[in-house]
Amino acid sequence: MAAEERNIIVNLIGEILVNLYFAYLVWQMFRAGLATAPDGVQVWARIVIWIIPVGIGAGIILSILARAFAAMVDHDGAVHLDERDRGIQIKGMAVTMVVAALAFVSTLSVLAVGAPALTGLNILFFGFGAAAMIGDLSKLLMYRVFG
């Protein structure tokens, strides 16, 4: 497994954990009836503002752990990106952008038909999360299937 593949898997695990944690917080928020409260959007925004550094921190910690583990089991040389890695990164980013754009259009669509703002914001947040994960999965697929 290439070092870059390993990084992508670690990113993917981090993204899944953060999105699951955010889903749990949103679910709690709905259970508490904050979704329909006048300040529901404000509460949601505060959760997002706090979840962003949590996500970055989780990503850094997972990355350090993965590198430490890799250093113990794999002595394949220094980690660096080459032209194939960069090509796959660009294609994966294009996939992410397409899914993120779909999430944005979906958000606008549900808001246009009168859905609550919080529903639109959740679609946007989870849509962007899904975009990052699908982009990473597409990169793994490119490494494994298309060379």
């Binding site: 290439a2 070092a3 870059e4 593949e5 394949d76 040389g77 660096h80 080459d82 032209e83 194939r84 890695d85 490494y143 298309f146 060379g147």
Partner: protein, 78 residues
Amino acid sequence: MGPVTQKSRIENQIRRLRFEAHEMTQKDLAEAVGVTRQTIMAIEAAKYSPSLDLAFQIARVFGRPIDEVFQFSPKDAG
């Protein structure tokens, strides 16, 4: 300009040339041209077509002209 329905495929003799170069390993070749071993594996398996720059670097490692290392073979898409 050729028909757009044709696929192009870059074939290569890297495996044979490595063997002839004192059984050079993929890792040695990768280090010589500054890419990962996985990229050399993908090129050898014709799953990845290298850039012109990388192709010239690989040819230079073996001391051969580029067309002895890489060959273009157009194939029909159908």
